[in-house]
């Protein structure tokens, strides 16, 4: 009797300790920095949002752009995820590559590559097709945002589609349902957590992005670009704080809408029962339509990154296309920045996972009063523009008790926090699929919480975990916004050098730097994939 009580007490104690610790970490590194920046906003200036026509325009553009881009991102992401997870088609490896390549989005260079290709004098738009198109404006931005951010949604949706067992679909087919009925009534509803999670993370990233609107947006501005420029261009912290705080409102709205939509239904398809190994065949005309769609997007992405890659080895970027290797000289003098980039990215993606895992677990499994709050805090850092978060870090951790200015620690922590939302959404969607009956069974058999977590959940969540890790790693390598106010001479990273080169007009060197950075990042990914492969083969046995 007493031992069971003791057991319950210790079990709960461990749980509450974890919960408390998480809350402490999140409040210190999310709420505090954000509050520090928000406090720059003078309350009476908020009315400017309505009187300043530029700002109200920006707010409307932000909302519009987020809405349409999220829809298109989710659509593209779903088609990619479905095609890769369910269909027997060639080029799967290529498609998979295309779903991570746009995550590598170094500052400004990708935007300029789009202009070289699809601009008014673009290689494709003008020289090849002789069209008279104008990319500058909302439609051009829509295209760019769709391609830049669909991978974020993909990472979540794919994890869900891949895991969902086809047994229900087989049952439906056996009872005479058509393909469309099965898709509409089974596949789509069961993918809801994935679609919702993916859409949310894409929406927040689009809302917070300032780089693409700056290059492609033309005269139409969005809130995050405006906030960035007020800070960088005019050093008007109050205005920047107002604009950034305003961004939190649609972010909160998106979040609530999202959680409402997913609701409390059950989406579990991973139940531990026996499952079919292959999916029900899909008619070939559908298959090839989806294939062509993916191919189309693939070609665009390859073109954009092809231009970037080619530009790295040209004499005068975007003008004189003759080949040279001289741009690389500069890169090799910046070994420290490259090493820092990779080191910080590896650390922060791992730490983000370590943090996101228990967060997702508590929110999804333990129904507690504080859950909604914890849930929101976990996605909040994704909704504020990176510069805003970075500035918060610069202010908040430049005094005792947490004097972190200039250290590698502050870089890693800032990147970690910025990555938590992406990682968390991926894991949350994964968890929603796994029936808790598996854990109950494990506990009934005498395993404790930790054991269950380790042996049941961890292996089942391996897919989402790895895709979360890949996404966050690549994001960190090419992140500029978060670290722009907190790097020091010793902790400078590759993207800082890229920005320096771009603002110096040296686009050739900037793209060769980018190419080297991307190559190293993918090499690291390749090596770690080999490592994980071997481990899995040993385990799956």
């Amino acid at each position: 009797m007493t031992t069971t009580i003791l057991k319950i007490v210790t079990r709960n104690l461990l749980f509450y300790l974890t919960f408390g610790l998480l809350l402490l970490i999140i409040s210190t590194f999310v709420i505090w920095p954000i509050l520090k920046v928000v406090s720059f906003a003078q309350l009476e200036n908020f009315s400017e949002l309505f009187t300043n026509s530029r700002w109200s325009q920006a707010a409307i553009h932000s909302l519009m752009m987020t809405m349409i881009s999220t829809l298109s991102c989710t659509f593209v992401a779903f088609i990619f995820a479905y095609t890769i997870a369910r269909l027997e088609i060639p080029c799967k490896g290529l498609f998979k590559f295309i779903t991570i390549l746009p995550i590598v989005s170094p500052p400004f260079i990708v935007g300029m590559s789009y202009i070289l290709l699809f601009g008014r004098q673009g290689i494709i738009s003008k020289q090849l097709l002789n069209l008279n198109v104008d990319v500058y404006g909302w439609h051009g931005l829509w295209l760019v945002q769709t391609i830049t951010f669909f991978p974020y949604a993909y990472a979540v949706i794919y994890g869900v589609l891949k895991k969902s067992s086809p047994s229900q679909e087989y049952a439906a087919y056996n009872m005479g349902s058509t393909h469309w009925q099965v898709f509409k009534n089974i596949v789509l509803p069961l993918s809801k957590p994935g679609i919702a999670g993916g859409a949310l993370i894409a929406a927040m990233s689009i809302l917070a992005d300032f780089g693409n609107p700056m290059v492609i947006g033309g005269n139409s501005t969005v809130l995050s670009t405006e906030a960035y420029m007020q800070m960088i261009g005019w050093f008007d912290l109050s205005s920047a704080a107002i604009l950034s705080t305003t961004l939190l409102i649609p972010a909160l709205g998106l979040f609530l809408l999202n959680r409402q939509w997913v609701g409390k239904q059950s989406y579990t398809t991973v139940t531990g029962k026996e499952s079919y190994s292959s999916h029900y065949p899909i008619p070939s005309y559908i298959k090839w339509t989806l294939f062509s769609f993916c191919m189309f997007i693939t070609v665009i992405v390859l073109l954009v990154y092809g231009v970037l890659f080619y530009g790295a080895f040209t004499t005068t970027w975007g003008y004189n296309w003759s080949l040279t290797f001289s741009n690389l000289d500069y890169v090799f003098s910046k070994g420290k920045e490259l090493t820092n980039s990779i080191q910080f990215a590896v650390l922060s993606s791992i730490l983000a996972g370590v943090l996101a895992f228990p967060l997702a677990f508590i929110v999804q499994r333990k129904k507690m009063g504080m859950n909604r709050f914890l849930d929101f805090l976990s996605v909040l850092p994704g909704a504020v523009p990176g510069v805003f978060l970075g500035l918060g870090f610069a202010i908040a951790f430049n005094a005792e008790p947490l004097m972190l200015t200039g250290t590698a620690m502050i870089m890693v922590i800032a990147l970690t926090i910025w990555n938590v939302p992406t990682f968390y959404s991926t894991l949350l969607a994964g968890l929603q699929q796994i029936s808790s009956s598996l854990e109950e069974a494990s506990q009934n058999l005498g395993a404790n919480n930790l054991k269950t977590f380790r042996h049941i959940l961890l292996p089942l969540l391996k897919g989402p975990f790895i895709s979360g890790m890949v996404v966050t790693f690549l994001r960190s390598v090419t992140c500029l916004s978060v670290i722009v106010f907190i790097y020091s001479a010793k902790t400078s990273v590759g993207t800082v050098s890229i920005l320096g080169l771009v603002s110096n007009g040296e686009w050739g060197k900037a793209s060769s730097f980018t190419v080297v950075l991307i190559s190293i990042a993918f090499a690291v990914l390749g090596i770690s994939q080999l490592f994980f492969r071997n481990k899995r083969n040993a385990n799956d046995y």
């Binding site: 300043n52 026509s53 530029r54 300029m112 202009i115 601009g119 008014r120 500058y136 700056m214 290059v215 005269n219 139409s220 501005t221 670009t225 405006e226 420029m229 007020q230 800070m231 960088i232 261009g233 005019w234 050093f235 912290l237 005068t316 975007g318 003008y319 650390l347 791992i350 730490l351 370590v354 610069a394 430049n398 005094a399 004097m403 200015t405 200039g406 250290t407 590698a408 620690m409 890693v412 042996h455 961890l458 292996p459 722009v484 106010f485 790097y487 020091s488 001479a489 010793k490 400078s492 800082v496 320096g500 603002s503 110096n504 007009g505 040296e506 050739g508 481990k535 040993a538 385990n539």
Partner: protein, 365 residues
């Protein structure tokens, strides 16, 4: 057995994390310890010539990398002071950082970028007052009457033209290369011209204000309206038009002359024109209050104002020196021939909000 295998990668990752973080930490500590050690021995040597002052200087530099590298080399050679710099993207970024760190300043001096960014920092009490003895040799408009900032170079606004596109499309229409701001009103530039937005770009605002000072309120707005008919779009940053014109997306635009020259040197077919009645920005330097090496920061300012440094920076950055005895940057007209508009900085700052508002309404997105 299987259990252990499964736990391994997880433990391994955690271990790696802790290890790498620890490595970062210790690496830094040992570096700083080493740094302090060498500092002590070095300072003992210099003690003979100086008071207890340190022999270090930490600089926030809103300058191009090559420029600051050369400045570091020369400053260390000239003074023996060990200079460490952090290069920042621009003066906005630098001043945001300085303000964020005001409780524990991390740098001694901020250098580069328009003095417009130094003014508010001075007013907030973040900058240390200092007037260099060398400032006496310099025109008064480059010295802060309050002593918070010191001007040491000057950038002017110019017109950038893509020569190839101009020759192909505009010359056949009988157009000559633009020489004045007014030449830009020609309807042939419609849709081919870029400028930057005063709401977001410092240079964009200085340009708009210049037209108002040059032509007066009413005519000035007429000018901006007329130009607006030709402008394809206003970029967020002042230098953004250059690359779009260099690669041939657009034919002409407005930006900082030194940035245009810089791009032209990369091999792009562009040319800079400095029109009459152009506007200028004063590049500043300011000492951060509460830095560890304030004395050295003062020495740095004295040093910046010498003729030798002025010449070096002009060559490197293509910007005019504030010293009248320094030759103009290569490819640019002598400073005496640059006809500057009568630019009232105080008034420009006061009317900014209204101008931006009216401008926004005018371009009516």
């Amino acid at each position: 057995m299987r259990k252990n295998i499964k736990l391994l990668p997880f433990l391994f990752i955690l271990f790696m994390c802790v290890f790498m973080l620890a490595a970062c930490g210790t690496g830094e500590e040992s570096e700083t310890v080493a740094g302090e050690g060498s500092k002590e021995t070095a300072s003992e040597e210099t003690k003979k010539t100086e008071e207890p002052a340190t022999d270090r200087l930490v600089v926030y530099a809103a300058l191009n990398e090559e420029d600051i590298v050369e400045i570091e080399k020369k400053f260390e050679a000239d003074t023996g002071i060990d200079m460490e710099y952090i290069r920042l993207g621009g003066a906005g970024e630098a001043s945001t950082r300085v303000q964020a760190e005001k409780d524990h300043p991390q740098a001694d001096i901020m250098v580069g970028g328009s003095v417009e960014f130094y003014q508010p920092l001075g007013e907030q009490g973040i900058l240390e007052k200092y007037t260099s003895p060398n400032a006496a040799e310099i025109d008064d408009k480059f010295n802060d009457p309050n002593g918070y900032w010191q001007g040491w170079y000057m950038g002017v606004l110019g017109i950038v033209v893509n020569k190839e596109r101009f020759e192909e499309e505009l010359s056949p229409k009988g157009l000559e290369m633009p020489k004045t701001w007014d030449d830009l009103l020609d309807a042939n530039y419609k849709g081919l011209f870029l400028s930057s937005n005063p709401a977001t770009a410092g240079g964009g605002y200085i340009f708009a204000a210049t037209q108002l000072f040059r032509l007066g309120e009413e005519k000035g707005w007429e000018y901006l309206q007329g130009l607006n008919n030709n402008v394809h779009h206003y970029t967020a940053g002042a230098v953004d038009p250059i690359n779009l014109i260099a690669t041939g997306e657009f034919a002409a635009g407005m930006s900082w002359a030194h940035d245009i020259v810089k791009s032209a040197k990369q091999g792009y077919p562009i040319e800079v024109i400095v029109p009459e009645e152009t506007a200028f920005e004063i590049g500043g330097a300011g000492i951060i209050k509460g830095g560890e090496n304030t004395e050295n920061a003062k020495k740095f300012i004295d040093w910046l104002l010498t003729k030798e440094v002025g010449e070096m920076n002009t060559q490197l950055s293509n910007r005019y020196s504030v010293r009248s005895d320094v030759a103009p940057p290569q490819g640019m007209i002598p400073v005496d021939d640059v006809k500057l508009v009568d630019y009232d900085r105080t008034k420009a700052a006061e009317m900014k909000e209204d101008v931006v508002k009216q401008f926004t309404e005018m371009i009516g997105q």
